[in-house]
């Protein structure tokens, strides 16, 4: 706890706002696994297309389903997909980047050439390529976006590894006879961990954005899964008669992205 307070005090106000927002949203998601105001799939023909009221705080959609419950369930998917994407992209990217940066030579040259050409293409386009092959669906989206996120993490980690690779502690580890892999993962990686975490915060932000974009296009998660992006796409047809159906998921999507971007702002202001 004391460590957390020290950590907290070292951060700026953007981080505080973002962190609290994120904690609240995360709490909502955790609670939604155990309790929801209504069954998100239960249709109520007597309550179709009602506006926000005390019983349904974000109203009901055209089938009489409670929008708030659906938003909560949608957030579960948005969270888990973003988490999976970062787990794949961040970890593989870190391994590729540190190997490439530490070993150098032609391997580094080849990997970085490939990386540069992939990084210049928007990640949503890369993900589209993969999804058009394997088809839509929650797990395909995670893998496709995860792979699309590898290049940026690889570049970030490689830059940091090159910075510290001639540091004293790396050299003394080498003198003591540590192997290359041991040096990279035991000695170097803990030191570049803060930078990697900053990348993760930015990555979460981008992952939520990219996933919602894909799902909005109808090639992301497929029914019965419904992420926030997919809800928006489905609700677009009724946006004139019941605008709350698009505004509620939209606002939660913005809050989610905003929370991550505020958290990462703390790092970017320090120039990391």
């Amino acid at each position: 706890m004391r460590r957390f307070i020290r950590f907290w005090n070292k951060r700026n106000k953007y981080f505080h706002v973002g962190f609290i927002l994120l904690a609240v949203l995360f709490l909502c998601v955790v609670v939604s696994y155990f309790w929801l105001p209504y069954d998100p799939t239960a249709m109520d023909p007597s309550m179709t297309g009602r506006g926000p009221s005390l019983t349904h705080i974000f109203g009901t959609d055209e089938y009489g389903r409670d929008v708030f419950s659906r938003v909560l369930v949608g957030m579960q998917d948005s969270f888990t997909i973003a988490f999976g994407v970062i787990a794949i992209g961040g970890l593989i990217g870190a391994v590729v980047g540190s190997l490439s940066g530490y070993l150098g030579g032609w391997l580094d040259e080849v990997i970085m050439r490939l990386n540069d050409s992939l990084i210049s293409i928007p990640s949503i386009l890369l993900a589209l390529v993969m999804i058009s092959l394997v088809g839509a669906g929650k797990y395909n989206v995670i893998v496709a976006l995860g792979i699309a996120f590898i290049p940026s993490f690889a570049r970030l980690v490689r830059g940091e590894v090159i910075k510290v690779k001639d540091a004293e502690y790396v050299r003394s580890a080498k003198l003591m006879g540590a192997g290359k892999l041991r040096i990279i993962f035991i000695h170097i990686f803990p030191n570049i961990f803060p930078t990697w975490m900053a990348g993760v915060a930015v990555g979460f932000n981008n992952a939520v954005l990219a996933e919602s974009g894909l799902s909005f296009l109808g090639i992301g998660v497929s029914p019965p899964d419904a992420s926030l992006g997919r809800m928006l796409a489905e609700a677009q047809s009724v946006m004139f008669s019941s605008p709350w159906c698009v505004i509620a998921p939209g606002i939660f999507l913005i809050l989610l992205i905003l929370a991550f971007s505020f958290v990462s702002e703390n790092y970017s202001e320090k120039g990391v």
Binding site: D116, I124, L125, G213, I254
Partner: protein, 314 residues
């Protein structure tokens, strides 16, 4: 000069690499194009005949080079889904996406530079700080939700435009440009926020430097120092960021065309993906990747030309 040649060689290699990857992904991995076109009821003779017609039995590299040279000749293959060549299918859509992208790029340049300058000048005042937070909120809004909000507020609420109304460029070119403006704004708003924030950071960084103090101590006025000294240096790196936004405009147009019902390449891409129409998908993706990579190279070279501090020799 040497630097430019090296960039151009790298550009050609990158383009070849991308085209090769796309060829492998879309022509080899999906399996037999003849079967997917004729359906499962086709007789083996029909399939064999079509395989021959499509040159599917040729060796791998022969197929790749045939495909690649075909692209140069303007032969993009034909769609599986529609009985049309890909070139015909894309032809009219290209215009929509191109002008949509151009409009949003102009909006970004026109709006983000003044906003960025204003943010930089008022960074210490409450209005500047409030706008700074506002730009962060703008960046967090996905472009499709911006689009939906624009339709709801400006289309339905204020009745400034008719949602989902599209004018063909053959009928009225200005009407065509006009009906895409809301979409262009939806793409541009997050990028405007990004570029103006970047300019603000640059302005703040530059104004801390020694030459600014020198200029002040020589008795130059605040306006003179800002526009003649600080801004000149702060605005240069913005060129790179503007170049980078081109990639994101491309990505944004795929989504925004869907929101506003604009019949552009993005819409064609999505429907082709849904129909597993790989020749169309591969050409559109290749095209978008080419545009992004070529534009990035141009921006890089341009940046070296306008910034005398970056030596062209090393």
């Amino acid at each position: 000069m040497k630097q430019i040649v090296r960039r151009l060689v790298a550009l050609v290699l990158t383009l070849l690499l991308i085209s090769f990857l796309i060829f492998v992904i879309f022509q080899i991995i999906p399996g037999d194009g003849a079967v997917s076109r004729l359906g499962t009821n086709a007789t083996p003779e029909q399939i064999a005949a079509l395989r021959k017609e499509l040159h599917l039995d040729d060796p791998f590299f022969k197929r790749y080079f045939n495909w690649l040279f075909g692209l140069f000749r303007g032969d993009f293959g034909s769609s599986y889904k529609y009985d049309m060549s890909v070139a015909e299918l894309i032809g009219g859509k290209l215009k929509v996406t191109f002008f949509l992208a151009m409009e949003s790029f102009f909006l970004i340049v026109l709006i983000s530079l003044p906003v960025g300058i204003f943010l930089g000048r008022t960074a210490k005042k409450p209005i500047g700080a409030a706008l700074h937070v506002a730009t962060q909120v703008c960046m967090a809004v996905p472009s499709f939700f911006t689009g939906i909000l624009i339709i709801l507020i400006f289309g339905l609420g204020l009745k400034l435009f008719i949602p989902y109304y599209f004018v063909k460029p053959e009928n009225s070119f200005f009407g065509f440009l006009g009906c895409m403006i809301p979409g262009a704004f939806a793409i541009a708003i997050p990028k405007i926020a990004m570029v103006s924030r970047f300019l603000r950071t640059n302005v703040l960084e530059e104004s801390r430097k020694d030459y600014v103090r020198t200029a002040y101590s020589k008795g130059a006025g605040e306006k003179h120092v800002f526009y003649r000294h600080i801004l000149k240096n702060a605005i240069l790196p913005v060129v790179t960021i503007l170049g980078m936004t081109i990639a994101e405009i491309m990505a944004g147009s795929i989504v925004v065309e869907q929101v506003f019902g604009l019949p552009g390449m993005g819409q064609l891409l999505i429907s082709s993906i849904n129909h597993r129409d790989f020749p169309v998908v591969s050409v559109i993706i290749l095209y978008m990747a080419f545009v992004v990579i070529v534009m990035n190279t141009i921006v890089d070279i341009l940046y070296q030309c306008i910034d005398p501090r970056i030596s062209m020799e090393d």
